[in-house]
């Protein structure tokens, strides 16, 4: 009897350990594959050519700057929209709304997160883009801003869900203390609860950004995909081509092993590094919070 339990323990521990390691191994293998397929691009195209502003790969122009700035401008736009709305919604759900409303609202917001992005893309192309063109007097509604709006809709559920959890985990005694000192509800939220949940909210924002920068389908459908350099915030209202949309649109066409193929993987590496950076920042913030909590508790 003893031995069977011992065996079972052994197998279960091993299985759990292997699943734990496999996540790390898979990420490493994916990264290695990306490097192997993308790094030859540097041998075939000089770095100085990659850092130019014309992207027209069927004739050998591989300037990735328009794609990089396109992704950045769309993501920055999405963040500017998603953060106020997302954090605001989280504050409302966690601090203001009565319990019954909250129990309806939170699942609803999370449901929005489950909406397939291609469906949002359709809404964007048929309804939002024409409306934006008329409302903002643009040349065309297929612009970075429309993509940013859709990305915000995709990122908001993440931001709301994570920052609501952070606000919810602020001890009730903090708020009671503020009220006892005569602070209004708004003062309590703005000066006490939100600062206390600061790092959680920051994590929420970064996770939202990570969600936005990797999104493909909705962006490809509404941003117009024109490889124009985005040089200032005003570029938000002209068309843009993101790195994700470029890979999605062109990968199906390229011959395996060609320069174009390698450059697309190189773009993938750049995208991977940016996502990694965002995620690392997010976990650094979480880590710092945990350390501080440990200090407070001890």
């Amino acid at each position: 009897m003893e031995t069977t339990v011992g065996w079972r323990e052994y197998i279960i521990t091993r299985v759990i350990r292997v699943s734990g390691y496999s996540a790390v191994v898979f990420v490493l293998l994916i990264f290695l594959f990306l490097l192997r397929s993308g790094l030859p691009a540097l041998r075939e195209v000089r770095l100085s050519e990659l850092l130019t502003t014309r992207w027209y790969p069927i004739e050998g122009y591989y300037g990735i700057l328009p794609l990089l700035t396109g992704s950045l401008i769309v993501t920055v736009g999405a963040t500017l929209i998603a953060v106020p709305f997302g954090v605001g919604t989280a504050i409302f759900i966690s601090e203001i709304s009565p319990r019954s409303v909250r129990e309806v609202l939170k699942p609803l917001v999370e449901l929005l997160g489950g909406l397939p992005s291609v469906v949002l893309g359709f809404l964007g192309i048929l309804i939002i883009a024409p409306y934006i063109r008329i409302l903002l007097q643009l040349n065309t509604g297929l612009a970075a801003f429309t993509g940013a709006l859709l990305l915000a809709a995709i990122a908001i559920p993440t931001v709301v869900s994570v920052s609501e959890d952070a606000l919810d985990s602020v001890p009730r005694s903090y708020r009671e203390g503020a009220w006892a000192l005569g602070a209004t509800r708004w003062q309590t939220i703005w000066r006490v609860t939100l600062p206390a949940a600061r790092s959680g909210v920051l994590t929420a924002v970064l996770l939202g950004v990570g969600r936005a920068i990797g999104e493909t389908m909705a962006v490809m459908m509404v941003t117009g995909n024109a490889p124009v350099m985005a040089t200032h915030l005003g570029s938000l209202f002209s068309p843009a081509r993101t790195m994700t949309a470029t890979i999605a649109a062109e990968m199906g066409e390229v011959a395996t092993g060609s320069t174009h193929y390698h450059v697309l993987f190189f773009v993938g590496i750049v995208l991977f590094l940016i996502s990694l950076l965002v995620n690392l920042t997010a976990s650094a913030v979480v880590f710092r919070r945990r350390k501080r909590e440990e200090r407070v508790l001890s």
Binding site: T53, R54, W55, Y56, P57, I58, E59, P66, I125, L126, A129, P130, R133, N139, T140, G141, L142, M220, M221, G224, N225, A226, P227, V228, S238, P239, R241, A249, E250, G252, E253, V254, A255, T256
Partner: protein, 295 residues
């Protein structure tokens, strides 16, 4: 335990349900034809496949789009039986196919006119190749420069993996001159589908776009085009394509990875027949005369 039992029972029942259909009628084994490529041709290829399967139940044809380049890439990887392309195969693609031990065979299966379209409220009616080239390369940025209203021009194009994109670049923007290195202006919107172009032109009075004539609905305005300055300006139609007066017309191709045999051979023969060519006209493309391209 109970749900598991229920699932198992259901599975057994389902399998039992499948059994009779598989055995009934001792039908000959189905031959499967994989057909992939040009988005321009996908509706035509689907219409062909549906009509053909209705009368030839032993053949199963799977049609997918993705773009001419995608279809030819699949041909080179030997994963399709027939690749559709709205442009001729490039010499480097033939070389790649030969490196894989394949010998692509070309069939011209229809002809297509590329229509230049604008919003119905746009007063511009005709454009020369030079004007189209200047518009798409970014030299002309306002409709008033070509006799229209004072509005900015929004250029729409298909994505670069589209055969239509490459054809339009070579024929119109570079006017057939291989030394000419004019580009699409970098602010040209590259839309991933025909539908994207049609819906933007329908809704945006600034827009100009191009697409296969078969995809252009009646509520858009088609521009009459002239190759030479001063005309004659010609509207695309079956007649103007057949008598070669409409200048932006091209052949549509099907490629097989080698000399076709069996079901693929029969299918291609049927496509070149009068019955299948009638479908070409229904889909808004231009039929070829069956004798012209039978290999």
């Amino acid at each position: 335990m109970k749900p598991l039992l229920a699932t198992l029972t259901l599975l057994v029942l389902l399998m039992a349900g499948c059994q009779p259909t598989q055995n009934s009628g001792a039908a000959p084994p189905k031959s499967h034809i994989e057909n992939k490529g040009s988005d321009t041709m996908v509706n035509l290829a689907l219409a062909w496949a549906e009509t053909y399967q209705a009368s030839h139940s032993e053949v199963e044809i799977a049609v997918t789009g993705g773009g001419s380049g995608t279809g030819l890439a699949a041909l080179i990887n030997n994963t399709v039986d027939i690749a559709n392309a709205s442009r001729a195969i490039k010499p480097e693609e033939i070389a790649e196919a030969e490196a894989q031990g394949l010998n692509p065979i070309e069939f011209i299966v229809a002809r297509d006119a590329i229509a230049v379209v604008v919003h119905p409220d746009n007063p511009v009616r005709e454009l020369t190749f030079q004007q189209l080239s200047d518009i798409y390369s970014g030299k002309i940025n306002n409709w008033k420069e070509v006799g229209g209203e004072d509005r900015p021009v929004v250029r729409l194009s298909r994505e670069i993996n589209s055969g239509t994109h490459v054809y339009f670049l070579e024929t119109v923007i570079r006017q057939g001159d291989s030394e000419n290195k004019t580009f699409f202006s970098s602010d040209t919107l590259l839309l991933p589908s025909s539908e994207g172009i049609i819906s933007e032109v329908r809704l945006n009075p600034n827009a100009i776009g191009y697409d296969g004539l078969g995809y252009v609905p009646d509520d858009l305005k088609i521009i009459a085009v002239s190759k030479e300055p001063g005309g004659p300006f010609v509207l695309p139609s079956v007649k103007t394509v057949l008598d070669d007066t409409y200048p932006i017309a091209r052949d549509l191709y099907m490629y097989t990875p080698g000399e076709p045999t069996g079901a693929v051979r029969n299918y291609l023969d049927w496509i070149l027949s009068a019955e299948a060519q009638a479908i070409v006209a229904e889909q808004g493309f231009v039929p070829i005369t069956p004798t012209e391209s039978s290999p």
